[in-house]
């Protein structure tokens, strides 16, 4: 599995299993949902998620070959409008957990995910802002 295949596989899995929610991918300015609808920015949305794939270290997995174990983190930020409560954010977080928590897909294996409540930006009561929950899933794959 290549770096590009890894990205495509993770992004596609999220998009296929998360319906009606706009997703922002790495180095993309707009957002897209599972139906293929696109938006330029998140300003008019009440909820959205952002996917970041953080490819980490790789290690030689077998002596004498180029077979390597590649590790990384799948980081998903969940945003809902400030002042709308935490229920929807947690429902979305649970949906994302079922997508990436201890699963195998293509050549990727994920471990137990961690949820971190980040909350609103400090001191912000502005309803144009967002309440944030992070989900992180360590993963590994092999590459020859």
């Amino acid at each position: 599995m290549t770096y590009q295949a890894e990205r495509a596989s993770i992004e596609q899995r999220l998009l296929n299993n998360l319906s009606s929610v706009y997703v922002q991918f790495d180095n993309v300015l707009g957002l897209v949902d599972s139906a293929g609808n696109t938006l330029d920015n998140e300003q008019n949305l009440t909820e959205w998620v952002r996917l970041t794939i953080l490819t980490n270290d790789s290690q030689q997995a077998e002596l004498g070959t180029k077979f390597t174990r590649q590790e990384g983190l799948i980081s998903v930020q969940v945003f809902v409008k400030t002042g709308t409560g935490t229920q929807r954010a947690r429902v979305l977080a649970e949906s994302i957990r079922t997508i990436f928590h201890i699963v195998q897909f293509d050549d990727i294996t994920t471990r137990a995910g961690t949820m971190t409540v980040i909350g609103e930006q400090t001191g912000t009561t502005d309803t144009d802002n967002f309440y944030q929950i992070n989900l992180d899933f360590p993963y590994h794959r092999h590459q020859s």
Binding site: R50, T52, L54, D57, E71, S75, Q132, N134, D136
Partner: protein, 102 residues
Amino acid sequence: MALTIPQALKRIDQIMNQVQDQFVEEGSRTVRSKTPVRTGKLQNGWNTKSAPFGRQASIDNNVQYANYVENGSPTVRPYKMAAQTVQTLRSQADSIVRKAVK
């Protein structure tokens, strides 16, 4: 090589200290290398601390915006330098312990 119980306990203590020191050293180096640099303030803000009693150590950063860089915000993607460091240390744990026991 045969060791008496006090000698064995002393050796275990030495190994544990060496493992802890190695984790802190490796963790500190890794987290610095994974920290994004603009002014260098965040990268230089990493500190290591050992508890005066017991076996406990920490690597922390008191720079005000460290949390935003680690976890991101609606306008910023997360860098996850601490989370990536934990992942790296997990995969190196075996070799760190083996080196200390040698």
